[in-house]
C-alpha cells in the first residue's frame, strides 16, 4: 500500500468536516436565501412560484415583523449591555485574593449549565401573579403594594425575559472577563500605583483598555446569541401577552411551522442572517484575530 503524504492525509482529515458543513450549513443557507424569492406554501402543495422581491416588500409593510424586530433589538441591547457591566463587576470580585473566591467561580457555573428551557420554567414559577415568590419578596419589602401579574403586561413581561437572561448569562460573561483580567501582569498595577494612580484611575486607564479584546469578543458572541432569542420565550411567555414578546426567531418559526408559509418564512430567516452579518462586520478585527489565532500565526 502506498503511504499517504502529510498533505494528502491533511486533506483526508478535513473532508468529513467539509461534507457536514456543505450538506447541513452551506446548502441550507443558500436554499433559505433562494426560497425567500419564492411563493411557497404548505397549503398549496409543492408549487414554488418565483415572485422576485414580493416577500421583502410584504415584510416592509408587516407590522408583526417590525414588532418582533423591535422586541428582539430591545432584548439584545438591554441584555448585552447589562451583562457586560455586571460581568465586569463580578469578574473584579472573583479576582480579589480572598478565601472563598473558588466557591464563587463554581456558583457562577450553575446558571450557565442549566438548560434555557429549565431556567425559563424556574422563572415562570417565581414571577407567578398569585403564588410567585418574586411578588412576595417585593411586597414584604414594601416595594409593591399588590401582587403584579408580571407576565400578562407588555413591559413587565419584557422585563422578566431580560432579567432571566441576565441571570443565566451574566455569570458566564464574568468568567470570560476574569480570563482577561488574569492575563494582565500585576507589575503593571504596581508601576501605576508607584506613579500615584488611585484604584479607580487604575481601573479606567489600565484595566479597561487592556480588557478591550476580551470584551469585544464577548460582546460579539453575546449580541449574536441574544439576537436569536427563542427558547426562554417559549418557556416564559410564548410571545405574549399578544405579540409583546414575540422575537424574530419565534415569528419566523410560527411562519414556517404554524402557518406553513415557507417562502415568507425564508425571507424572515434571511433577514436574521443579514443582521447577523452586519454584527459580524462591525467586529471584523475580532474575527480576524481569532482566525489568525486558529492558524497559529
Amino acid at each position: 500500500m502506498k503511504t499517504l503524504s502529510r498533505k494528502q492525509f491533511g486533506y483526508l482529515c478535513i473532508t468529513p468536516t467539509l461534507v457536514i458543513f456543505l450538506v447541513f450549513a452551506i446548502y441550507p443557507v443558500c436554499r433559505t436565501i433562494l426560497l425567500s424569492f419564492f411563493r411557497f406554501r404548505l397549503q398549496t402543495g409543492p408549487v414554488r412560484t418565483f415572485i422576485g422581491l414580493d416577500n421583502y416588500i410584504q415584510m416592509l409593510s408587516d407590522g408583526r415583523f417590525f414588532n418582533s424586530l423591535f422586541f428582539t433589538l430591545l432584548f439584545t441591547v438591554l441584555t448585552v449591555a447589562i451583562e457586560v457591566i455586571l460581568g465586569l463587576i463580578f469578574a473584579q470580585l472573583m479576582n480579589l485574593p480572598f478565601k472563598g473566591r473558588g466557591a464563587l467561580r463554581v456558583v457562577v457555573l450553575i446558571p450557565w449549565a442549566i438548560p434555557t428551557i429549565v431556567s425559563g420554567f424556574m422563572w415562570k414559577l417565581m414571577v407567578h401573579d398569585q403564588y410567585g415568590v418574586f411578588n412576595q419578596i417585593l411586597a414584604s419589602l414594601g416595594i409593591i403594594d399588590h401582587f403584579i401579574p408580571w407576565l400578562s403586561q407588555d413591559n413587565t413581561a419584557r422585563l422578566i425575559l431580560v432579567l432571566s437572561d441576565i441571570w443565566k448569562t451574566a455569570p458566564y460573561v464574568s468568567l470570560l472577563v476574569l480570563a482577561g483580567l488574569q492575563t494582565i501582569p500585576i507589575t503593571l498595577y504596581e508601576a501605576a500605583a508607584i506613579d500615584g494612580a488611585g484604584p479607580i484611575r487604575r481601573y479606567f486607564s489600565l484595566t479597561l483598555p487592556l480588557l478591550k479584546p476580551v470584551l469585544a469578543t464577548a460582546v460579539l458572541f453575546r449580541l449574536i446569541s441574544s439576537f436569536k432569542v427563542y427558547t426562554v420565550i417559549v418557556a416564559l411567555t410564548n410571545g405574549g401577552p399578544g405579540y409583546a414578546t414575540e422575537s424574530l426567531t419565534m415569528y419566523t418559526m410560527r411562519t414556517y411551522f404554524d402557518a406553513g408559509n415557507y417562502g415568507y418564512g425564508s425571507t424572515l430567516a434571511t433577514f436574521t442572517l443579514f443582521v447577523t452579518c452586519l454584527i459580524a462586520l462591525l467586529f471584523t478585527p475580532v474575527i480576524r484575530n481569532k482566525i489568525d489565532g486558529g492558524k497559529g500565526a
Binding site: 499517504l4 450549513a25 446548502y27 476580551v214 481569532k290 497559529g296
Partner: protein
Amino acid sequence: MNRETILHKTLFYLFAIFFMLTIGFPFFWQIINSFKMEKDIFALIWFPHTYTGANYVKAFTSRPLLSYLGNSFVIANFATILSLAIGSMAAYAIAKTPIKGKTPFLILVMSISLLPPIVIISPIYSIIRGLNLLNSYTGLIIVNVLFTLTVVIWFLTPYLHAVPRELEEAAEIDGASPVQTFSRIVIPLLGPGVFTVGILAFIQIWNEYLFALVLNPIKIKTVTVGLKMYESDNYMPWGTIMAAAVIIVVPLITLVLLLQKRIIGGLMSGGIKE
C-alpha cells in the same frame, strides 16, 4: 490587620454573599418546590411542614421522563463522540499539515459558529425528512454534530499548535506513516483537551431545544422538549415540573461540580481565543 483591610474584607464578603444568593436563589427555589405539596406551593410557604417525594414519582409516571432522559443521553453521547472524532481530525489538518485553504476554512468554521439556527432550520427539516430521519436518533445526532463541531475545532486547533513538531518527526524518522503518527503520537497527547471540550459539547447538546423540537416532535423526544410536555392549557402541575426539571439538571450539575476546574479552564481559554 489594619482597618482598611478589615473594611475591604467585609465588603468582599457582603458582595460575595449577595452575589451567591442572587445566583443560587432560583435554583434553590426549584429544588425546594419540587418537594412541596401543591397547597404549600399555592400558599407560598418557603419551607413546607411536610416534604413530599410524590412530585418525583409523578414526574416519571405522568410523562415518559425515563425515555426522555435515555434519548438525551444517547443523542448527547453519540453526537459528542462523533464531533470529537471528526473535529480533532480537522483541527490536526489545520494545525499540523501543509494543506492549502486554511484561512477560508477557518472563516467557514467561524461563520457557522455564529450562524443563527433559524436561518437553516427549514432546509434542514426538509433534508432530514428526505432521508427519512425525522423522529430518529440519527437525524438529531447529525444536526447537533454540526454545531458542536465548530466548538471542537476552535478549541483543539490552538491546543495542537502547542504540540511540538519534533515529537511527530521522531516517529516519522522511525518510519511511521502520517496515519500512524496521528493515531499513536497525536491522539494520546490530545487526551485532556478532548476531555474538556467534550464536556462543553455534551452540555450544549443536552440543553439544545430548537432542533430537538422541530426534528423529533413525536418520537425520541429529548429532555428539553419533554419538559414542555408537562404543561397543559389550563393547568400547570408546578411541583411535578420542578421535580422533572431537577432530574434533568442533576446530570449537568454533577458534571459541573466534579469537573469544575476543567470546565472553568475550558470556558476561560475559549473566551480568550474565541
